[in-house]
């Protein structure tokens, strides 16, 4: 009785087709957004910004991107770290070359550049699939990271081989560099994530998303009913890389401030994003957020309990964390392959019937 679809009447097609057709969903989303935009910025401090909120937003963006490719289009990719590196280095070059540029423009342009690279590495997906494609994307991962290590032009010939973000602004407020205030970096990332989550949600509901899902479910059958695998797969690669590139740019410019390719964009980052998508739920926008939140908050929580609570040494806690995360991935795949998003669906089902059992 708490969650009802019944009685929510629409009088126009536009109302029927809107992003959240149910009144309850809409209120809920507006409530969360109002809290995130109007309450959090006033109470944010450095700890919450650096260890919880910024990583959550940045990795949510990456998880959204991978979910489009793997969850909606069914193409497994292990090159996420490499594509994030492309976004990061693109944003670095843009920030250095055009100091006056608005950071929103920088991040979105980095995303577009990554999309081009993504299309290039997505080309093999037209001939191969499954594990074979996973290996092809591994080639992207290792080759791109090597490229950013070895070609000095990318890091502007700096002696350390690192890149570090100079201070850049949005409408006069600094969002990158050490002096950027917490609320500004938080709001900057939040705006990007909210806008592009909305775009992703509507993309997946539309014609393009349906063609991706058709390819995922059975590519040959999809081709026979007239879905072009070329367009569907390459558009999925492009849009997924666009999101991942933006998250890479945000990770480097706003969150880390300086980066070194093998450390910040290694293969373990590709797996981290893949885990977020699995735990959150393959083929679900909400799942991307849940998965990112889980895998960002869980280690923070574990560390606080084990190092802070029990007084164990930090390396022991790190090993236990690996054991728990690996175990959880297996548990999720055995018990609930559809991830946390499925739990949310089950909860809604329960709320619909409550207080009656059937």
């Amino acid at each position: 009785m708490l969650y009802r679809e019944a009685g929510d009447f629409k009088t126009s097609y536009a109302a029927d087709q809107q992003t959240f057709p149910l009144k309850l969903d809409r209120w809920f989303v507006w409530g969360v957004l109002a809290f995130a935009f109007l309450v959090v910025p006033f109470f944010i401090n450095d700890y919450w910004e650096k260890s919880v909120l910024l990583p959550f937003l940045v990795w949510s963006m990456a998880a959204l991107g991978l979910n489009i490719l793997t969850g909606y289009c069914g193409q497994l990719s292990l090159g996420t770290g490499g594509f994030m590196a492309v976004g990061a280095y693109a944003s670095y070059k843009l920030m250095v070359a055009f100091p006056e540029l608005n950071m929103f423009v920088v991040v979105i342009t980095s995303g577009l550049i990554t999309a081009m690279v993504g299309i290039g590495f997505g080309l093999p997906s037209l001939r191969i699939k499954g594990f074979y494609l996973a290996v092809a994307t591994l080639a992207a991962q290792f080759f791109l990271v090597w490229l950013f290590n070895k070609v000095p032009w990318f890091y502007n010939y700096s002696a350390s081989g690192q890149i570090s973000a100079p201070e850049r602004t949005v409408f006069g407020v600094a969002v990158t560099g050490a002096a950027a205030p917490s609320w500004a970096t938080y709001l900057f990332c939040l705006v990007l994530v909210v806008v592009f989550a909305y775009v992703a949600r509507n993309l997946t509901r539309g014609r393009l998303g349906r063609s991706w899902m058709a390819i995922r479910d059975m590519d040959i059958a999809a081709e026979i009913i007239g879905v072009s695998p070329l367009k569907a797969k390459l558009s999925a690669f492009a849009i997924s890389s666009f999101y991942i590139g933006m998250s890479g740019a945000m990770l480097f410019a706003v969150y880390l401030g300086s980066a070194e390719p093998t450390e910040a964009f290694g293969i373990d980052k590709s797996f981290l994003v893949l885990f977020m998508v699995i735990v959150g739920g393959l083929g679900s926008i909400l799942g991307s957020f849940l998965g990112a939140a889980f895998l960002i908050l869980f280690p923070v929580l574990m560390k606080n309990i084990m190092v802070g609570g029990f007084g164990w040494p930090a390396d022991l806690a790190a090993h236990l964390e690996l054991v728990f995360i690996g175990g959880l991935i297996m548990l999720f795949l055995v018990v609930e392959p559809h991830g946390l998003a499925q739990f949310w669906r089950i909860t809604k089902e329960k709320l619909r019937l409550w207080p009656f059992p059937h």
């Binding site: 594990f131 022991l316 690996l322 995360i325």
Partner: protein
């Protein structure tokens, strides 16, 4: 012969040896893939885990010493002077079999009929789990492994090859690690024995039957579960051999698990279902990356070994997606 030519031969020989090491890991992949259709990403971590366990038994470490000390405030680390190598290898094998059994009971049993990609991701989870578990059990520090295999350069070979070079040229002979030669010998033995096992024993025939068709194998009375335990145990054994070889060569450390990733392009080249393919793919990758680094690597910044294998595999996929010896993939709606 000119020194340049001899150098190229040396590079090729070293590539051959490195290739054999890749093949050893790739072999474990192929075994599991053939028998259960699972692409086991954790093979490299299994090699690491086996090597860690072996060193732990050899030196007589107390398992989970770190955790015990942290929980109870004790200070245990060793329970004696350790085992001799042979006993330690036997015990490690027992641990790997126990692990295979547990894995089947707890995880794989519930994963029958899942999509291959889900199974693949499960093994990624398994890889993380085992990595953490191995570190927790034996500690994460880099360990030396010594199982009595000879290592170092061969003076005999250096002397012989020095004689090949033309008079007056500055050439000091080839450097080839004896350990690599041993690894090559052991790998060849392993392949021969595995082939004999799968061709001529009853269990081997059952393995091939399961690989062909799960349902048909079950209808003639082959227990899928025991076959899976056997397959994972054999994969554990191959992991142990690979772990010993890599461990003696470069120490037991985390980078050992990354060689698993190198085995992926090897498999693409050789085909996922072919044991000889794994060997030949390994050799091609080994020689290819060494030659590429020797001839072109210097010009474009070096360290090309990190990605050459993957890019080679990628190029190869364009022309022959099923690999050199793989079965042709035919799909129906």
């Amino acid at each position: 012969m000119s020194p340049d030519f001899l150098n190229v031969i040396e590079v090729i020989l070293n590539g051959l040896m490195a290739g054999i090491m890749y093949s050893l890991v790739a072999l474990g992949f192929v075994l599991i893939f053939k028998a259960s259709g699972i692409f086991n990403y954790a093979q490299g971590v299994m090699a690491l885990f086996a090597a860690l366990t072996l060193v732990g038994f050899q030196t007589g470490q107390v398992p989970f010493a770190h955790l015990i000390n942290a929980t109870f405030g004790t200070d245990v680390h060793h329970w004696g002077s350790g085992m001799n190598t042979f006993l330690a290898i036997l015990c490690t094998m027992a641990v790997m079999i126990l692990f295979a059994w547990l894995l089947e009971r707890i995880v794989l049993r519930h994963m029958v009929n899942q999509a291959p990609i889900i199974l693949f991701m499960t093994t990624i989870g398994l890889a993380y789990f085992m990595e953490g578990f191995g570190d927790l059990m034996w500690g994460a520090d880099i360990k030396n492994m010594d199982v009595g295999l000879p290592s170092g350069g061969s003076f005999w070979l250096e002397d012989v090859t020095k004689g090949w070079a033309s008079e007056g040229s500055e050439y000091y002979g080839m450097y080839i690690d004896v350990l690599d030669v041993w690894a090559a010998g052991i790998a060849i033995l392993l392949v021969i024995s595995l082939t004999l096992f799968s061709q001529y024993t009853k269990t081997g025939r059952a393995l091939r039957a399961v690989a062909d068709d799960h349902q048909a194998a079950m209808t003639v009375g082959i227990s899928l579960r025991s076959i899976w335990i056997i397959v994972w145990s054999i994969a554990g054994f191959v992991a142990l051999v690979a772990g010993i070889m890599w461990g003696s060569k470069s120490g037991v450390q985390f980078s050992l698990s990354l060689i698993a990733l190198k085995a992926l392009p090897v498999l693409i080249l050789g085909g996922f279902t072919s044991i000889p393919g794994a060997i030949i793919g390994g050799l091609i990758i080994g020689i290819g990356e060494k030659l590429f680094e020797y001839s072109l690597g210097g010009m474009i910044g070096g360290a090309t070994e990190n990605w050459f294998a993957y890019v080679l595999a990628l190029a190869f996929l364009m022309f022959r997606p099923q690999g050199l010896f793989g079965e042709k993939i035919i799909e129906r709606v």
